[in-house]
Amino acid sequence: MAGGPPKALPSTGPHSLRDMPHPLAGSSSEEAMGGDSTPSPDLLMARSFGDKDLILPNGGTPAGTSSPASSSSLLNRLQLDDDADGETRDLFVTVDDPKKHVCTMETYITYRITTKSTRVEFDLPEYSVRRRYQDFDWLRNKLEESQPTHLIPPLPEKFVVKGVVDRFSEEFVETRRKALDKFLKRITDHPVLSFNEHFNVFLTAKDLNAYKKQGIALLTRVGESVKHVTGGYKLRSRPLEFAAIGDYLDTFALKLGTIDRIAQRIIKEEIEYLVELREYGPVYSTWSALEGELAEPLEGVSACIGNCSTALEELTEDMTEDFLPVLREYILYSDSMKSVLKKRDQVQAEYEAKLEAVALRKEERPKVPADVEKCQDRMECFNADLKADMERWQNNKRQDFRQLLMGLADKNIQYYEKCLMAWESIIPLLQEKQEAK
């Protein structure tokens, strides 16, 4: 651990966030700090998305305008976040029903987005809208802008570089639909992102384009301020926590990349194996035509190999459509997370630099200048958001990969079971005593 900023203010430096007092910590939320039995204190440091509608449980108003407001009204909702069973979930979003639209200028696909919610932010209990990929792209950009301290889930790749893939093929559209569905569900599950105004509009607006044109920037204070952080400052020392996260993401992305390449290689080998099988089976048929007593057994073997070929084809399709895209998504995810980490570094660097500048000015004033305090708060909020999101991300990642890899194993088991059945069924045929011809 390198030396911290000189004459550090009490709340700066590479402390564990758990030990840091909340900038806005008043007596009411103090008891919620530190205790391990309560939800992570970090969860309490959620940011709000706007100054309006801010209701604190103790009826107070946001403390001061210089610090970003913490909305403890979200406390209840945050506790709900940990419930994966959906009992207490109040927002459900689904992507389905892809449709092709042919216009003079272009052809594209839209998907139906169905929203069901009891949240007050939604005027109606149910919505159904149609969106296309560029709408999702717009949403993601807006989320990144307005919630720069959070990890925004990735979108499936915009362009398909492989060349041979048909953008309008059933398989491609289905793969994309699943990924878009996943994208929205991840946002839905996020305690902060799910309340984002742009997200709301995305789910509900009849005419999204009109809204886009308005260019309404509903940035949070933090969002606004983070946006303007200059990148010129050099970070002195990254908190251990974030350094570890950075290292982890580096290795993680690397390993996923390797797995992606291996999976692609396996699919390629399996396809080549399939090509040979498709030639192999029919030769037994040809032979069968020459024979008398052996005709049926040989024909049986030919059919059997045909069945195995079909099973193999299904396996390779599943791998391509279900396994690879999820891997790629996570690689994109970790890339975008790394950008957020960088941004965090910049925020910290700026703060430290300003702090140092103040210290060097040799002023005796004990009061910390407002803008330095602003920087500190900005950094601390960022750290808190990021930490919370990382934990959530780790949990989801674990579940996602458990499911993904079990699915991989399942597909292979099913393939072998199909082949086993085919071969077992011809044994009696082969053993049959043929009548003398």
Binding site: Y273, Y280, T286, G292, L298, L408, I413, Y416, I426
Partner: protein, 450 residues
């Protein structure tokens, strides 16, 4: 051309019984029972000993292979493999086997034996030898004749060859075959002394006959056609199978990479680590399982190869028939032409062109005495020709009868063997599927614990 019939001199008495199954099979010789109507008893004291020999159960095995160096015909150093052939006789009473003979032979000596059998038993579908050079190889399999796996498969193939010969009701009684198993030194000389090489049909003659024969037995023509197609289809099958094996190998081996990367990944994970690590281990097991699987499959390929080569032997019998038939047709044609010549000379009419006719025109008529002489010669030739034709006809019919009997025997053997081969292939596939299910189920369980 002299026809070689199943020569009693070549045969040992008495004939053994049923055909054999797999390796280490036992040849049972029952005293006094004649399967094929054996000819007159072989004279000489040897016969008695031979009788006793064949009365007991015989076990033949090619039990070992050894690399040797020696000097070849051009006095150059060469490396070759020698195979140990052991013959055991099994006492009926207690089932104990006693080693009666053991000697070393190399592949070329097997070839010599087979070539001999081909010449002296043209009506028999002679069992083939394992391939001389490795063919239909997929990339992991060595094409090197000295490779231990190849040598091992060859050893099995040679044993199979001997067992096939030993279980053939006619071939097993051959003296040269018996000597092959029992007389190490001098055997080559003994075989060559039979002069079989000289008696072999020239390939050119055989080819000629195939094209020109007018009335071959339709059944043989069909069988020849069948053997061509069989050869073609099995070749194709073996080629594609080799490619399939290659690809399958690739699929399995790449999975091994999962093992490595899961292990590396598990190092940076907390809760997920153990599950990943142990799943990776199963991927390694999966990748390495393909070696045994494909080794077993080579056995199936060898079984197919045997019948690929058997097709060649089948065709040889058909060609022999065509040759004999052609020979018969030529002899009949020759006889007819001589008869006609004779008739013309006798009646004085010249219907056919002859050199004599030409010279008569050019140099004048021949004297009555000359003509008489010529008629006499022709009549003698005609007589001889008729005798020959008769015996050729008889030989031809004998050949067709015996050859067709062996072809029927071969057909049954082929159907039985190939069915067994297909069954064992299916069993191999089933085993492979079950192993696959096992490994992936284990991996799935590891993943579930992540």
């Amino acid at each position: 051309m002299e026809q070689l019939s199943p020569d009693p001199e070549r045969q040992l008495q008495p004939a053994p019984q049923e055909p054999l199954g797999g390796p280490d099979a036992v040849l049972e010789a029952a005293a006094g029972e004649e399967a094929e109507g054996a000819g007159p008893q072989d004279s000489g004291g040897d016969a008695m000993a031979e009788n006793n020999f064949w009365l007991k159960k015989i076990e033949i095995s090619v039990s070992e292979a050894e690399k040797r160096t020696g000097r070849n015909a051009m006095n150059m150093q060469e490396t070759y493999t020698a195979y140990l052939i052991e013959t055991r006789s099994v006492e009926h009473a207690d089932g104990q086997s006693v080693l009666t003979d053991s000697l070393w032979r190399r592949y070329s000596e097997f070839e010599l034996l087979r070539n001999y059998l081909l010449v002296y038993y043209p009506h028999i579908v002679v069992p083939p030898l394992p391939e001389k050079r490795a063919e239909f190889v997929w990339h992991k399999l060595s094409a090197d004749n000295m490779d231990p796996d190849f040598v091992e498969r060859r050893r099995i193939g040679l044993e199979n060859f001997l067992l096939r010969v030993a279980s053939h009701p006619i071939l097993c009684r051959d003296k040269i075959f018996y000597l092959f198993l029992t007389q190490e030194g001098n055997w080559k000389e003994t075989v060559n002394e039979t002069g079989f090489q000289l008696k072999a049909d020239s390939r050119l003659k055989a080819l000629n006959a195939t094209f020109r024969v007018k009335n071959p037995d339709k059944r043989f023509t069909e069988i020849k056609h069948y053997s061509d197609e069989l050869q073609s289809v099995i070749s194709h099958l073996l080629r594609v199978r080799a490619r399939v094996a290659d690809r399958l190998y690739g699929v399995y081996k790449v999975h091994g990479n999962y093992g490595r990367v899961f292990s590396e990944w598990s190092a940076i994970e907390k809760e997920m680590g153990d599950g990943l690590q142990s799943a990776g281990h199963h991927m390694d097991v999966y990748a390495s399982s393909i070696d045994d699987i494909l080794e077993d499959e080579e056995h199936y390929a060898d079984q197919l190869k045997e019948y690929l080569f058997y097709a060649e032997a089948l065709r040889a019998v058909c060609r022999k028939h065509e040759l004999m038939q052609y020979d018969l047709e030529m002899a009949a044609q020759d006889l007819a032409s001589k008869k006609q010549q004779c008739e013309e000379l006798a009646t004085g009419t010249v219907r056919t062109f002859s050199l004599k006719g030409m010279t008569t025109k050019l140099f004048g008529q021949e004297t009555p005495e000359q003509r008489e002489a010529r008629i006499k010669v022709l009549e003698e030739q005609i007589n001889e020709g008729e005798q020959q034709l008769k015996s050729k006809n008889l030989e031809g019919r004998e050949f067709v009868k015996n050859a067709w009997a062996d072809i029927e025997r071969f057909k049954d053997q082929k159907n039985r063997d190939l069915k067994e081969a297909l069954i064992s292939y299916a069993v191999m596939q089933i085993s492979m599927c079950k192993k696959g299910i096992q490994v992936w189920t284990n991996a799935k369980e590891c993943f579930s614990k992540m």
